[in-house]
C-alpha cells in the first residue's frame, strides 16, 4: 500500500467516523446520567430526514441542521418522558422509538416529495460542503506532512470539525465543571445527588436534551454532508455501532474518539477490499469487517479487553423517597 492510498483510507475513516463520534458522544451524556439510550439510531434517522427535507425545501443547509436537531430533540424528550417522568423501561423505550423513527421518516419523506421515501438530491447551499483549512494548498508540496494535512485533515465539512471539537469540550464539561460532576454523580448514585438538594429529574432531562442535540448534528451530517439527501434507513445501524463504541470506550470521551475512529477505519477498509488483500495477503470477506465492531464490543463487555462497567444507576428510574 502506498502513501496516497493510506491517506485516502484515513480520509474516509474521518468521513465515516464523524457520525459515529457525534452519536457516541451523544450517548455518553445520556448514559453517564443514568439513562440508557439504545435509541441513538432512531434519533439520527429522524434528524437525517428532517434536515434533508428542510434543506431541500429551503435550499439552506443551516435551517436543515436546525430542523434535524429539533426532530432529534423531540425523540429525546419522548425518551426522557418515558424513562424519567413515567419511570418506564428505558431499553424498551429506545427500541420502540427506533421503530417509530424508521417508519415515520419514510412516511413523511414520501408524503412531502413522493420519491419513494427519499428527499431530492441536495446541492450547493443545501449541503455542508468541504472546507479547505488555511494554508492547506500552500503546504501541499511539503513532503509527508503536506499531503496529510491537505488530504486527511483539511477538506471536511464544518460538522466534522464540530464533532472533533466536541471531544475536548465534553471532557472539560464532564470532568472540570460543576455540571459534569453532578451529571456523573446522578448516573452513579442519584439518591446522593438528591440529598444534596439538586434535581435528579432536571439533570437527567438536561443530559437527554444534549443527547438529542448531538444526535441531531450526527443525522444532519449523514443527510447533508456525507450524502446528498435522505434515503430510507440511511443510518444503517450506525446508532448501534456508536453504542458499541461507547461501551468499547467505557463511557469516556477521549476513548470514544479513538473507538469511533477505529470503527470508522473498519468501515473505510470494508469499502477497499483490494487494500486489505494487499496487506493481509488473503481475501478477507467484507462481512467480517462489518461484524468486527460488534465482535470487539462483545469482547469488551465480556471483560476480555478490559472490563467495561456501565454507570451504576444506569437503566434504573429514580424514585424519590418520601
Amino acid at each position: 500500500m502506498d502513501y496516497a492510498t493510506l491517506l485516502q483510507i484515513l480520509d474516509s475513516t474521518i468521513r465515516l467516523g464523524t457520525p459515529l463520534l457525534l452519536a457516541c458522544l451523544a450517548g455518553l451524556y445520556s448514559e453517564r446520567s443514568g439513562i440508557f439510550d439504545i435509541g441513538l439510531e432512531g434519533k439520527m434517522l429522524a434528524a437525517a430526514m428532517a434536515s434533508g427535507a428542510v434543506a431541500a425545501l429551503t435550499g439552506n443547509v443551516w435551517l436543515g441542521l436546525l430542523a434535524g436537531i429539533a426532530a432529534s430533540m423531540i425523540f429525546a424528550l419522548i425518551h426522557g418522558l418515558a424513562s424519567i417522568t413515567f419511570r418506564g423501561n428505558q431499553l424498551i423505550s429506545g427500541v420502540a422509538l427506533n421503530f417509530v423513527a424508521s417508519g415515520i421518516t419514510v412516511l413523511i419523506a414520501q408524503s412531502l416529495f413522493g420519491q419513494g421515501g427519499r428527499t431530492p438530491p441536495l446541492e450547493g447551499a443545501a449541503r455542508f460542503n468541504p472546507i479547505t483549512l488555511p494554508f492547506a494548498e500552500q503546504v501541499q508540496g511539503v513532503p509527508v506532512i503536506g499531503p496529510l494535512y491537505y488530504e486527511v485533515i483539511s477538506g471536511h465539512p464544518i460538522l466534522a470539525y464540530i464533532a472533533f471539537l466536541a471531544v475536548p469540550v465534553t471532557w472539560w464539561l464532564l470532568y472540570r465543571t460543576r455540571f459534569g460532576l453532578r451529571l456523573r454523580a446522578v448516573g452513579e448514585n442519584p439518591a446522593a445527588v438528591d440529598t444534596a438538594g439538586i434535581s435528579v429529574t432536571g439533570l437527567r432531562y438536561a443530559a437527554v436534551a444534549i443527547t438529542g442535540l448531538l444526535c441531531g448534528i450526527a443525522g444532519a451530517y449523514m443527510a447533508t454532508a456525507l450524502q446528498a439527501g435522505f434515503g430510507r434507513e440511511m443510518t444503517a445501524g450506525r446508532g448501534y455501532i456508536a453504542l458499541a463504541a461507547l461501551i468499547f470506550a467505557k463511557w469516556r470521551p477521549w476513548q470514544a474518539l479513538m473507538a469511533t475512529m477505529l470503527f470508522g477505519l473498519f468501515q473505510a477498509l470494508a469499502l477497499r477490499p483490494d487494500v486489505i488483500e494487499g496487506i493481509a495477503g488473503i481475501k478477507i470477506p467484507s462481512a467480517a469487517l462489518d461484524a468486527l465492531p460488534y465482535v470487539l464490543t462483545v469482547l469488551a463487555l465480556a471483560g476480555f479487553v478490559g472490563k467495561a462497567t456501565p454507570p451504576r444507576a444506569g437503566g434504573e428510574p429514580y424514585v424519590k423517597e418520601r
Binding site: I78, S93, L97, F99, A101, G237, A287, A288
Partner: protein
C-alpha cells in the same frame, strides 16, 4: 398508588395502550394528508376480508407467536432478549442445512429434523450472550443486539460465498427438495374448503382437469406447531418446578439465589429456550414458505416478538392473540402498500408505538386508569 382490579390490569391496560397507539398513528396519517378511516378499512379488508387474507395474516402470526414466546420466556426470567432476529436467522440456517444436506424419507420426518436443527441453531446463537451474562455480567440487551448484527454479517457471508449455488447471482441457498414442502392451509383436507375459489356465477372454480381451484396461501402446518409451543410454554412456566424457579428468579433475583436457585442455570436455560423458540420460526418462513434460505430471512419478525410479548402481557395466550393482531397489522400494511399511496412503513410506526405504550409508558396508562377507578369509587361512596 391504588391497586387496579386484576381484569383491568390484564385486559384494559394493553387495550388502552393499543388504542393510544392507533390514535397516534391516525394523527400521523392525518398530518401526511391521508384518511385514517380509509386506511383502516383497506387493512381490515386486505387482512381479514377474505380467506386468502386470513391465510397471510395467520402465516405472519405463526412467526410472531414463536418469536413472541421467545421474548416471553426470557422476560419471565428477568432477561430482555432483543436477539430474536439473529436467533431466527440462525434458525433459518439450521433449517436450510438440514433440508439441503440430509436425506429425508418424508416431509414429516424432515419437519421433526428441521425443527430440531432450527431450535438448536437458535439456541446456540443465544448461548454465547447467555453465558456472558451468567458468568461475566455482560448486559444481555447489548450483547444480543451485537449478535443480531454479527448474525446478519455471518449470513451475508455464508449465503454469498458458501451456500449460493454455482452460477446463481442471488445471495440465497439452493431450493430445498420439492418433496420436503410443508402442507399449506389450501392443501389440507377440510381446511382447504375455506380457500375455494368461486367464479362470477358463485359456482366453485374448476381447473382444466375438473378439480376445484384453491387460493394459494402461505399459512401452513407450522401454525399448529406454534399453538402447541404456546401451550408448552404455559405448562413450563406455570406447572413445572423449572418454570417456577425461572419466574421467581425474574421477580426477585436475590431471594431466588437465597432460596438455592442457581442463577447460572436459570439464565442459561431461559436464554437457550428463548433462542430455540425464536429459531423455530424458521420452520414457518424458510421451510414452509420460501423453501430456500434468503438473506434477511426473518424480516424483522424477531423484533416484532418484543411487541407481541409486551402486548400479550407475557402470557402464552396473550402472545397468541397479540401475534394474530400483528399478523393483521402486517398483512393489512401490505394491502395498504398495494392499494393506497400510504407507504407500507406505516406498520413499523404502529409497531413502535405499541412497544412504546405497552412497554415504556405503561405506568402512564396505569396512572390514568387508577385515577378513573378512584373517581368511580368516590362516586359510590358519596
Amino acid at each position: 398508588m391504588a391497586k387496579l382490579p386484576r381484569w383491568a390490569d390484564l385486559a384494559l391496560v394493553p387495550l388502552i395502550s393499543l388504542v393510544l397507539a392507533a390514535l397516534v398513528s391516525a394523527i400521523v396519517l392525518v398530518l401526511i394528508g391521508q384518511s385514517p378511516m380509509q386506511a383502516l378499512s383497506v387493512m381490515v379488508d386486505g387482512a381479514l376480508g377474505s380467506a386468502s387474507g386470513w391465510g397471510y395474516t395467520l402465516y405472519y402470526a405463526t412467526s410472531f407467536i414463536f418469536t413472541g414466546l421467545g421474548v416471553t420466556i426470557a422476560f419471565h426470567a428477568g432477561l430482555f432478549n432483543i436477539g430474536g432476529e439473529g436467533q431466527a436467522q440462525l434458525g433459518g440456517l439450521g433449517v436450510a442445512l438440514a433440508c439441503l444436506f440430509l436425506p429425508w424419507p418424508h416431509w414429516t420426518v424432515a419437519l421433526v429434523g428441521a425443527s430440531l436443527a432450527a431450535a438448536l441453531f437458535g439456541a446456540a446463537w443465544a448461548a454465547i450472550p447467555a453465558w456472558l451474562q451468567a458468568k461475566r455480567g455482560s448486559h444481555i440487551v447489548i450483547t444480543t443486539i451485537m449478535f443480531n448484527y454479527i448474525a446478519a454479517a455471518l449470513l451475508i457471508y455464508i449465503l454469498g460465498e458458501i451456500l449460493r449455488p454455482v452460477g446463481s447471482m442471488d445471495p440465497a441457498s439452493a431450493r430445498f427438495p420439492a418433496e420436503l414442502g410443508l402442507p399449506h392451509f389450501h392443501e389440507m383436507p377440510i381446511l382447504r374448503d375455506f380457500f375455494l375459489k368461486y367464479g362470477p356465477d358463485g359456482a366453485v372454480k374448476l381447473s382444466a382437469q375438473g378439480l376445484p381451484v384453491y387460493s394459494r396461501v402461505p399459512a401452513n402446518i407450522t401454525f399448529f406447531l406454534s399453538l402447541i409451543a404456546a401451550f408448552g410454554v404455559w405448562v413450563l412456566l406455570w406447572h413445572t418446578r423449572l418454570g417456577y424457579e425461572m419466574r421467581a428468579f425474574g421477580k426477585q433475583e436475590k431471594a431466588a439465589r437465597y432460596a438455592g436457585i442457581s442463577a447460572f442455570k436459570i439464565i442459561m436455560v431461559a436464554m437457550l429456550l428463548s433462542g430455540a423458540l425464536s429459531g423455530l420460526m424458521a420452520i414457518n418462513n424458510v421451510m414452509g414458505q420460501a423453501e430456500r434460505l434468503l438473506q434477511n430471512s426473518a424480516e424483522g419478525a424477531g423484533f416484532i416478538g418484543i411487541a407481541v410479548a409486551l402486548m400479550g402481557r407475557n402470557h402464552p395466550l396473550g402472545v397468541v392473540l397479540a401475534a394474530v393482531l400483528f399478523g393483521f397489522l402486517y398483512q393489512g400494511g401490505a394491502a395498504l402498500g398495494l392499494n393506497t399511496s400510504i407507504p407500507i412503513e406505516l406498520r413499523t410506526v404502529v409497531q413502535g408505538l405499541v412497544i412504546l405504550f405497552t412497554g415504556a409508558l405503561d405506568y402512564m396508562v396505569r396512572i390514568m386508569l387508577t385515577w378513573v377507578f378512584s373517581l368511580r369509587q368516590t362516586e359510590r361512596a358519596a
